[in-house]
């Protein structure tokens, strides 16, 4: 039987927007939320009061400039104003962006630092927070209270984004799941139905509202499910864990919810259980992090005397990208534990109404009993990650969301066994290992040989511990582990529980050199490590039990410190430096005083490079053994060698060759300890922008392989290849149609060169985004120099229709009339015929198919990011043409005097 499950048919929510739902609740008049704080009297908020508060927050937010489609950051503790600001934002048609309210209140600046990355990503119009929190320098309009005034009409629409739930909040690359009103209400309704809730139910929760479990599982589920909830602040619970269960007891609560660590804390530090009465409890949901059998058994054992029944415990599985709930193990939907790799894996039941799931491995649905990645489909999925088409494309396969979690199906029920993406979850926050590893790497002057971050269950805390393993080439200085831990805490706000320092060669790796995190997680290490002299432990380097699974360390004599670093000291290898862009680039590198070596192929024209007197090294992509040597001690690799014109009519051959070569380069770079890999692609990889935007940016990507043209297919395949790279930083540069010195044969430059020689210019028409090749070179230099650069950046200046460009340039070369453009089909047929003729006669085609594909599929490109994030200013086209003319005259491509040719301007090199 295949591992596929489908819930019952989706149930349409009774309201179509969050404000509708709030209005419904207000009309009913039943009690809703009760907020408890310390010894203060509780504050209650019923539907009508919440609706009125939301309208007043809408007034205050509108006064701060919030409009439909904007984002509003909501930084509020569990309390009436969270509800007011959250619904107030959606009232205006804006999206609420809940931010994590700190457990430790009273440090506004630190909080601002903690949420900085999310704010940078979300770019909200305003921040809704408390007066105390407003004292930090937020740098945007801050609204601290609702206000009276004329209430605008609620404008939210069912399919508009209601809120954006950011995951991995404190890392450098937060991802914001965009959730529509429809998805949110469908999810909340499906959960309410599954739980069988009604007005007789009373919930107790200390989960923060900014968290998906608190927001959807508590706030929205109780909104549509018509039950009331007693709400604590997380800090109140953490400070006095006994408050949770005593509130359950006191309020005769029927429902409660928490992550596994919360239940554990309540057990461990919940104080005396005598006097409690938990017999009213009918469901206790446990989710949002791995669920441990020991916790469930502990609860059953310790709380049985006070009326707790083990069957109330309902393990659940969900994720923010699916609004929240996916599978619930309520009542008969639950099942027995699964014995898996020596562990007891708790069953999380079956899908909620409308949800479907399947387990896949290598694209195939696995058989029942086998482990596979959990993939989910249904009406509650996010519409995508906010302004992050790369992450969105990676998350979806058609309609299916790849959760990154691993599971095993048994008896038609799901068991969550691990995480495919090796996500680390600590205190309810998600971290990508790559982000942690990057921070650790940055803590070093010299690149460590290898860094791996992973988490594993920690029996004592019932939670997970974060382990960071660093492979060093020399004996570490005193206190290094402590420094690493401080750095991780400072940058990411998470504790590295175990920091382990090892000598090079000890980490288990795949044949291609990738560190095997999952093997480390399971406690395996490299077989080669059999030495017996342990590295002396330094203060606070790890906890006792954590380390015995790793092999002892070998202390070797210190290695010379090669001091690689960013900036001008970086040692750079350029592949493809002999090409058009390559020559301008190595010229610019040399000018910037950067030590660069150029790789050359066995047989290639390197005359241009020789003229620049740069060191050359043999680096033949077809011969991986040459790469290891060429990459030795390099900090940065710039890969410009991705041009395969020979293959225009053999897409699969071209893709196979290109990906094989690039992958062997990536693998060699990983072996050599390269820190940054700059891959030069093309604006051909900018996909047409969505409706409503004229120009594409680096963020617009083809979400599947383009089916036209070999050029696009090859570039797309290479992007997949470099995007999958996690061993070092990868930066993708997308230059537009490069014009300027050094080229007259390829790309758009070929049309201009032909025009300059007054030759016939057979051409198609389409968008070309022109850019001076020297500006692209400067942009690439910035990518080498700067410690922090965007991971994807387009270089382009002016946007033209090709026909208009040629017509506008023609007078410069004394050409009166430019041949009209061919239609797309004509151009393709012409280029194909030209290439066939050229192949037969061993001559050059007057128009290449590749160039036709580039032009007819061209997208006008907006390269604002290169200006704002790399500080580029592009020179106007006239200067570019002047430089081209000067160069063309010098090499004799043009003969003086081509009548109105402008006097060559002094060539300004970067």
């Amino acid at each position: 039987m295949r591992s596929e499950l489908r819930g019952t048919a989706a149930i349409a929510p009774r309201a179509v927007t969050l404000i509708d739902a709030l209005e419904r609740r207000a009309a009913q008049g039943s009690a809703w939320l009760h907020f408890h704080k310390g010894n203060e009297p509780r504050v209650s908020l019923d539907g009508a009061a919440a609706l009125s508060l939301a309208s007043q927050w809408a007034v205050a937010l509108a006064a701060a400039g919030v409009k439909a489609g904007d984002r509003v950051a909501v930084l509020q503790p569990n309390g009436p104003d969270f509800v007011g600001a959250f619904f107030g934002a959606t009232w205006l048609g804006a999206c609420a962006v809940p931010l994590p309210w700190p457990v430790m209140e009273g440090a506004p600046e630190r909080t601002r630092e903690d949420v900085r990355h999310v704010l940078e990503r979300a770019r909200p119009t305003a921040l809704a927070t408390t007066a105390a929190m407003a004292t930090a320098a937020w740098g945007l309009p801050v609204v601290v209270a609702p206000s009276d005034g004329v209430v605008p009409a609620a404008v939210s629409a069912p399919d508009a984004t209601a809120f954006i739930q950011f995951t991995s909040g404190s890392t450098g690359r937060p991802r914001g799941a965009m959730l529509s009103h429809r998805a949110a209400l469908t999810s909340a309704t499906a959960m309410a139905i599954e739980l069988g809730v009604g007005a007789q139910d009373v919930g107790v929760s200390w989960i923060p509202f900014f968290h998906d479990m608190g927001l959807v599982g508590v706030l929205l589920c109780s909104l549509v499910g018509d039950f009331q909830v007693h709400v604590l602040r997380p800090a109140e619970f953490l400070m006095r864990p006994s408050r949770w269960l005593s509130l359950v007891s006191k309020e005769r609560a029927t429902l409660t919810v928490g992550p596994n660590f919360g239940f554990d804390l309540a057990l461990k530090r919940g104080g005396k259980v005598e006097g409690l009465d938990l017999s009213s409890l009918r469901l206790a949901l446990n989710g949002s992090e791995p669920i441990h059998r020991a916790t469930l058994d502990g609860l059953a054992q310790q709380l049985a005397p006070v009326g707790y029944r083990p069957e109330v415990m309902a393990p659940v599985y969900g994720l923010a990208e699916a609004t929240l709930g996916v599978c619930f193990a309520v009542g008969a939907r639950g099942g027995a534990d699964l014995k898996f790799q020596g562990r007891d894996v708790v069953c999380v039941g079956q899908p909620l109404a409308g949800m479907e799931l399947c387990l896949r491995r290598d694209g195939q649905v696995v058989e029942e009993g086998e482990e596979g990645e959990i993939c989910v489909r249904g009406p509650t999925l996010m519409s995508g990650y906010f302004e992050d088409p790369e992450a969105t494309a990676a998350a979806f396969e058609g309609e299916w969301l790849r959760t990154g979690d691993l599971g095993v199906m048994r008896d038609g029920r799901l068991h969550v066994t691990g995480r495919e993406k090796e996500l680390i979850i600590k205190s309810g926050q998600k971290f990508h290992p790559y982000d942690i590893e990057r921070v650790v790497t940055e803590a070093f002057d010299t690149t460590p040989n290898g860094v791996a971050a992973f988490s594993r269950p920690h029996a004592a805390s019932g939670s997970e511990e974060l382990v960071v393993v660093v492979e060093l080439r020399r004996v570490p200085p005193e206190g290094l582990a402590q420094e690493i831990r401080a750095k991780v805490m400072e940058r990411l706000g998470v504790r590295a529980d175990v920091v382990e320092l090892m000598m090079a060669g000890t980490l288990p790796r795949t044949t291609s050199g990738k560190v095997k995190r999952r093997a480390l997680q399971r406690g395996e290490a490299a077989n080669s490590a059999t030495t017996d002299s342990p590295l002396p432990r330094r203060g606070g380097e790890g906890q006792g039990e954590g380390l015995n699974t790793l092999p002892p360390l070998k202390v070797s004599p210190p290695l010379p410190d090669p001091l690689p670093r960013w900036g001008r000291g970086a040692r750079v290898l350029v592949l493809g430096g002999g090409g058009f862009l390559g020559l301008s680039f190595v010229e610019a590198l040399k000018h910037a005083g950067i030590r660069a070596t150029c790789g050359r192929r066995q047989r290639s024209n390197v005359l241009g490079l020789r003229a620049l007197k740069l060191p050359l090294v043999l680096a033949d992509l077809d011969r991986p053994e040459t790469l290891d040597e060429a990459l030795q001690d390099r900090d940065v690799v710039v890969h410009l060698a991705g041009h395969y014109p020979r293959f225009s009519h053999d897409p699969s051959g071209a893709i196979a060759l290109a990906t094989r070569q690039t992958q062997s380069l990536l693998d060699a770079a990983a072996r050599a300890g390269v820190r940054r890999f700059i891959y030069v692609s093309s604006t051909a990889m900018v996909a047409p922008p969505p409706a409503g935007r004229d120009r594409g940016t680096e963020a617009d990507r083809y979400d599947r392989a383009p089916t036209f043209g070999t050029y696009h297919s090859v570039k797309w395949a290479l992007e997949q290849c470099v995007d999958a790279e996690r061993r070092f930083e990868v930066v993708t540069a997308l230059p537009g149609a490069c014009l300027g010195p050094h080229d007259y044969k390829l790309g758009t430059a070929a049309f201009l060169a032909a025009l300059a020689r007054r030759a016939d210019v057979p051409h198609p028409d389409g968008w070309v985004s022109t850019v001076d090749v020297r500006d692209v070179a400067l942009g690439l230099v910035e990518l080498v120099l700067r410690p922090q650069v965007p991971s994807r950046v387009a270089f382009a200046n002016e946007v033209w229709r090709l026909q208009d460009l040629l017509t506008s340039v023609a007078p410069r070369y004394g050409v009166d009339r430019v041949t009209p453009a061919m239609s797309d089909d004509e151009a393709i047929a012409f280029a194909d015929a030209e290439e066939a003729r050229a192949a037969a006669n061993n001559t050059r085609a007057r128009l290449s198919r590749e160039l036709v594909d580039m032009v007819v599929r061209g997208v006008p490109v907006d390269a604002t990011r290169s200006r704002t994030e790399l500080g580029l200013t592009y020179r106007p086209l006239s200067q570019t043409l002047d430089a081209f003319d000067a160069w063309a005259l010098r090499i004799g491509l043009l003969s003086p005097p081509p009548s109105p040719l402008a006097a060559p301007a002094p060539e300004t090199t970067a």
């Binding site: 310390g38 700190p102 209140e105 400070m239 006095r240 805490m489 504790r495 203060g539 906890q543």
Partner: protein
Amino acid sequence: MNAATLEQRIITLIAQVSSGVKPQDIKPHHRLREDLGMDSVCSMELLSMLAEELDLDVPVEEAARVTTVEATVQMAQQYMSQKSN
């Protein structure tokens, strides 16, 4: 309880909640977050255990003010003297 005993007690609790740091490595000037790697949940647990053990009523807001081992000791002393008055 005198200051030295209190400090020792607090250090023991820190070692307990932030498993991985040994009591002998914890110094009064250490910062809970940066030096001892205690995240907010961890710090809260420390204060919670302290409040419980010494039977003090420490408001939650107090937690954020305490950033070092020393400050934790001082805060505990302050609440203890409040209690005895």
